[in-house]
Each structure stands twice: as structure tokens, then as C-alpha cells.
């Protein structure tokens, strides 16, 4: 009894420690964004100061935040929807009509995630240039969908595996063709899983920087490019950089906060049942 109490205290402390560690940079970024440029680089760092929104105003004057944000939304949603559109049938076929090669295919798909993206940058860049996809929203949507496809397929596959085959077979006996089977039975039964997969994909797309920095310049540039534009050209202005970053991550933070219940439920869907 006593030991389990100390254990619990330790685990609680550890949990809080990790959470604070993860949270601290975000906290510091928000704090910095509210300082003046001189305050931002002061040593020792200021903890007590008069907050000001001047950095935000400067940032908005120099770049149109809303345009980047809209691009981010469009590209993240588009990429996630496209990935799901391909992954739902792919995972269905792998989970319910497996062939001897299914396992291998799944592993191979995942293994593509271990390749450093920069390894395929040049071919993709050339392909995009020749196809006229550079700096287009559609181009990024395609890239993001492809980038997330392995993870999305894997997640859906594990959720689908939880559905007893006989339920789908009963549907087939009731006259369901493949699409009715997926639409009326599989999707409703795995909705928490599909939703959390979609949410995760959205977050991954939103945060992606490598491809967006390399394949867009202005027209289709999402918020990651917006942040980057504050880091290099005219030396480091920490307060403005922080303000830009805060503005860029705020939507996804709020979104993650609102959907955390759904995310956790989906990600532990198989484990608890």
C-alpha cells in the first residue's frame, strides 16, 4: 500500500516533469512574442515585463497572416482528405481480403517513412517543375497526402482489424456490395478510429515544413513558410519570430485541445476494448 503510494507519487511527478518540459518552449515562445525586441534578447531573461502586441502588429503589416493560414487550412484538409480517400479502400482490402503479400506491403509502406525526404527532393522538385506544380496548393496537397499515406493506412488497418469479419460477411449476405459494406458497416463501426486518424494527419500536415519550404514560395505558401520568412533574411528578430510562430501554431493548438478527447479515444481504440 505504502509503496504503491510512493510509486504513484513518482509517476505523477514524472508525468508533470515531462509535460512541463514539453510545454516550456511553447510557453517561452508565447512570452517572447509579447516582449519588445530588446526585451527579447535581454540577459538575464525577463520574466516580469509589460506585455505588448506590437510584434504581432509588425508581423501582420509585413506579411498577410490570413493568406498563409488559409493556405495551411486548405492544404492540410486537402492532404488529409486525399490520404483518407486512398487509405480507406487500401486498408479495407488489406484487412479483409489479405493476400500472402499484405504484411510485406504494409512494412514496405512504412519503411518509406524511414527514407530522409531530402533524398527524393531533387526528383520531386524536377517533377513538380515540369508538371507546373511548384508553388501550387494542389501540388502540396498531393505531396502531403503521399507523405501521410503510410501512417494513415497503418492506423486504419489496425482499426479495421478490430472489426469481426463475420459482420461484414453478414452485410454481404444481406446484399451489400463493397461500397455499401464500407459505407454502412465499416466506417460507422470504426468512426472513432477514422476520425482520430484524420486528426493526426491534419496535425502532421499543418506542422510539415520541409516540403512546403522547398516547393512553395508565395502563392501556395502555408504558415510554416510564413514563420520561416521571419527567421533568415534580415537577422534574427526574436520577438517577431515568436509572434509569427505563435500565430502559426495557435490554430492547431486550439484544434488539438478541442479534439484531444477524440484523439485519445481513437488512438487507444483497440487497446481498451
Amino acid at each position: 500500500m505504502e509503496r504503491s503510494l510512493t510509486q504513484r507519487a513518482l509517476i505523477t511527478a514524472l508525468g508533470w516533469g515531462i509535460a512541463l518540459l514539453l510545454f516550456f518552449p511553447i510557453f517561452w515562445m508565447v512570452l517572447t512574442s509579447l516582449k519588445t525586441e530588446t526585451g527579447a534578447i535581454a540577459t538575464p531573461p525577463q520574466l516580469i515585463f509589460r506585455p505588448s502586441l506590437s510584434s504581432y502588429i509588425d508581423v501582420q503589416e509585413r506579411a498577410d497572416y490570413l493568406r498563409f493560414a488559409l493556405n495551411s487550412v486548405l492544404i492540410s484538409v486537402g492532404g488529409s482528405v486525399l490520404a483518407l480517400a486512398f487509405a480507406i479502400p487500401a486498408a479495407y482490402s488489406m484487412a479483409f481480403h489479405p493476400s500472402p503479400r499484405t504484411r510485406g506491403t504494409l512494412l514496405w509502406m512504412l519503411s518509406t517513412k524511414m527514407l530522409p525526404p531530402v533524398g527524393v527532393l531533387v526528383p520531386i522538385y524536377l517533377l513538380f517543375r515540369n508538371a507546373g506544380l511548384l508553388d501550387t496548393q494542389f501540388g502540396l496537397i498531393v505531396i502531403y497526402a503521399l507523405m501521410n499515406l503510410p501512417i494513415v493506412v497503418w492506423m486504419l488497418f489496425t482499426f479495421y482489424k478490430e472489426v469481426p469479419n463475420e459482420i461484414l460477411e453478414a452485410g454481404r449476405m444481406d446484399g451489400a456490395r463493397t461500397w455499401s459494406e464500407v459505407w454502412f458497416l465499416l466506417l460507422p463501426l470504426t468512426l472513432p478510429g477514422v476520425a482520430s486518424t484524420g486528426l493526426l494527419s491534419l496535425i502532421l500536415c499543418w506542422n510539415e515544413a520541409f516540403w512546403s519550404l522547398n516547393l512553395t514560395s508565395s502563392g501556395a505558401a502555408p504558415l510554416t513558410t510564413f514563420i520561416a520568412s521571419f527567421s533568415s533574411p534580415e537577422g534574427l528578430f526574436f520577438a517577431k519570430l515568436s509572434a509569427a510562430s505563435t500565430a502559426a501554431v495557435a490554430p492547431i493548438l486550439v484544434f488539438g485541445w478541442l479534439s484531444q478527447r477524440q484523439l485519445v479515444r481513437g488512438l487507444t481504440f483497440g487497446a481498451v476494448k
Partner: protein
């Protein structure tokens, strides 16, 4: 209206052949039961008929039309699964109406049909519950109701009662038989339980290791098993099997000599069997009677009292104990000697290759 024919049906999983060539006719309105030990291929065969498993070789026809390449959605059959396989996210009403919804039947007609089926199965009060909120027996009835609503050509059942307790199983057995009467439908029913097979079937198909051992009415299988396997499988408690040799044969039957030296004359045709050939004598538990002048001597090892019936386990030398069925008033006690008389006319003789030597007279209940 539905007839089914199976011709040389085979199923292989890679190098393993699960179904090894099955020929069978299912008549319109017939209640056919596939029975056999676990793993003999009953479910596989049923699923091939359903269209859920591809047919490796052979022909399957429904109403004269070859359906090997027709998908399960288009065969017009309904199936009740062992696990019930209800749609967990739908209410009972939606579960039962799903097939009609897929077929774009208007809602009013759908509701009418669902309610009619629910009335037959006494599911009326549960129509708006989800499967989670039902007992095992109720779920079972929903699964059956789901198949009724569609008015299918053939009903397929895969061990539908095996998840129910004994009392409910008995009750559902009667309900299914009643349903068969009422719907005048063709039904194929898979079970490993030969009591279910005996009580419900018009026609039993005994399967073993992917082959048909015998097809016949319940009493045909009981009184005229085609071989040792069917003799041993059909009937509960099991038929007693004793090794012996043919001593002689004439027009009135074959005389068999048991290891103990006892001779019995069984009214069967010897066929190609010669005196001296090894045979197996099969005696049903009710063909043995405790009598002081009985031919067989032994010792009662165990008495199982079922109330109305009593089963005696009688040791006699090296073989398995003989099981004797006597009435509930039998006063035998364990560890006492006993003599058993054999109703030789009711015995069966199986040749060394397992094939039955045919009886000279057909049992009077077997037309």
C-alpha cells in the same frame, strides 16, 4: 422455391484440401443438416454455398443456374452466423431491415416486413434496442429475424445454437422447426451436435475430413449406417463397437464370434465377406439388456442415472466398457457382476474396411 445442386465441389487452401469433392442435391423446402466432427469442413462447405468462400472446383447451381461466379450479395440466400454477427451500431429494427434498405425497399413496406418478422419471433418489444442490450437468445432471434425479412431462396445456418445454454437450445430447436413449417423454406443447417441433426433434419449429410460419408433421413442413418464412422457418430450415447471374426454365414445372416468366444447371429448379407474375416460388431446401448441368461458377462463399473433412463458402463475384458441403456427403475449397482442379452437383429456388422454389411430387412420406420 429453391433447389440446390452440388457437383464435385472442392475447396483448397494452398496445398490443403478442405473439401474433397462433394455431390449433393437439396430439394425445395427441404431441411438439410450438415453434421460431422469439428474441422470436417461443414462451415467451409456452407460458406461456399453462401458465396463467402471461392469454389476451387466443381459446380454449384441454384434453381438450375450455375452460381460459382455470382457474389454473395446476388445469390439471394440468407445466413445466420454462429456469432450472430449483428450490426452493433444499428437497432434491432435497423438490423432486420438492412437488407431491404440496401434493396431500396420503401420505408413503409420495410417497417411492415420487419414488424411481421418480429411478431413471428416475439421480438416486438425489442425493436428499438441495440444488440448490446439483448440477451444471447434474443440476439439469436434477431439474427434469424434478419434472414426471414429478406424472404431468401435458402436459409443457411452455421451452428446457430451453439452459444446458447442447454434449455434455450432445446427451445430454439423447436422454434426453428416451427419456422421451417411456417415459412415452407429451404434450409441448410450446420451443426456438430447430432441431437440437433436428428431432431430437425429431413435429410442429414454426414461429413468427415471434407467428404460425404452418408446422406439420408435421420432414421436411415440411425438404423442403416453406411459405415463404421456414421454408426459411431450418429446416436447418443455412442454405439458400442466390439471386434470379432466371421464364423459362418447363411441366408439368415452372418454369425460373428467375439474375442470372448461368444457367438451371435446378425441378420445381414455377408456380401464378399468370408468366414475368418475380421469385422466390427456394433451394438446400440438400447440393444443391450440386463438379463440373467444374457450372452455377455461383465461387471458394472459405473451407473449414470438420468432419472427416466439409466446408463450402465459395463467392463468386459480389455475393450472399452459397454454402455447399456436401461430404464430409470434399474437397480444395478457399481462393482457388481452382470449378464447382458443382445438384440442381435438390431446389431450392425462392419467389414474390415469400415463398410456396413447391409441388413436383410429394412427397419420398419425407414421407408
Amino acid at each position: 422455391m429453391a433447389t440446390l445442386t452440388l457437383r464435385g465441389l472442392r475447396k483448397s487452401y494452398g496445398a490443403v484440401e478442405a473439401i474433397k469433392g462433394i455431390d449433393l442435391d437439396v430439394e425445395d423446402r427441404e431441411f438439410v443438416v450438415f453434421v460431422g466432427p469439428s474441422g470436417c469442413g461443414k462451415s467451409t462447405l456452407l460458406r461456399m454455398i453462401a458465396g463467402l468462400e471461392a469454389i476451387t472446383a466443381g459446380d454449384l447451381t441454384i434453381d438450375g443456374k450455375r452460381v460459382n461466379d455470382v457474389g454473395p450479395a446476388d445469390r439471394g440466400l440468407a445466413m445466420v452466423f454462429q456469432s450472430y454477427a449483428l450490426y452493433p451500431h444499428m437497432t434491432v429494427r435497423q438490423n432486420m431491415g438492412f437488407a431491404l434498405r440496401l434493396a431500396r425497399v420503401p420505408r413503409a413496406e420495410r417497417d411492415r416486413k420487419v414488424e411481421a418478422a418480429a411478431a413471428i419471433l416475439q421480438l416486438g418489444p425489442y425493436l428499438d434496442r441495440t444488440p448490446k442490450e439483448l440477451s444471447g437468445g434474443q440476439r439469436q432471434r434477431v439474427a434469424i429475424g434478419r434472414s426471414i425479412v429478406r424472404n431468401p431462396k435458402v436459409f443457411l445456418f452455421d451452428e446457430p445454437l451453439s452459444n446458447l445454454d442447454a434449455a434455450l437450445r432445446g427451445q430454439m430447436r423447436i422454434e426453428l422447426a416451427r419456422l421451417h413449417e411456417e415459412l415452407q423454406a429451404t434450409m441448410i443447417y450446420v451443426t456438430h451436435d447430432q441431437v440437433e441433426a436428428m431432431t430437425m433434419a429431413d435429410k442429414i449429410v454426414v461429413l468427415q475430413a471434407g467428404r460425404v460419408e452418408q446422406v439420408g433421413t435421420p432414421l436411415q442413418l440411425y438404423h442403416h449406417p453406411a459405415n463404421l464412422f456414421v454408426g459411431g457418430f450418429i446416436g447418443s450415447p455412442r454405439m458400442n463397437m466390439l471386434p470379432g471374426r466371421i464364423a459362418s454365414s447363411d441366408a439368415a445372416g452372418v454369425t460373428v464370434e467375439l474375442a470372448s468366444g461368444v457367438r451371435l447371429k446378425v441378420p445381414v448379407e455377408p456380401g464378399a465377406a468370408q468366414p475368418g474375416d475380421a469385422v466390427t460388431l456394433g451394438i446400440r446401448p438400447e440393444a443391450l439388456m440386463a438379463r440373467t441368461d444374457g450372452e455377455l458377462a461383465g461387471e458394472v463399473q459405473l451407473v449414470e442415472r438420468l432419472g427416466g433412463l439409466t446408463l450402465l458402463h459395463v467392463g468386459h475384458g480389455a475393450d472399452l466398457p459397454l454402455i447399456v441403456q436401461t430404464d430409470g427403475a434399474d437397480a444395478s449397482r457399481a462393482r457388481t457382476p452382470i449378464r447382458l442379452a443382445v438384440d442381435a437383429a438390431a446389431c450392425h456388422l462392419f467389414a474390415a474396411n469400415g463398410i456396413t454389411l447391409p441388413h436383410l430387412v429394412t427397419h420398419r420406420l425407414v421407408a
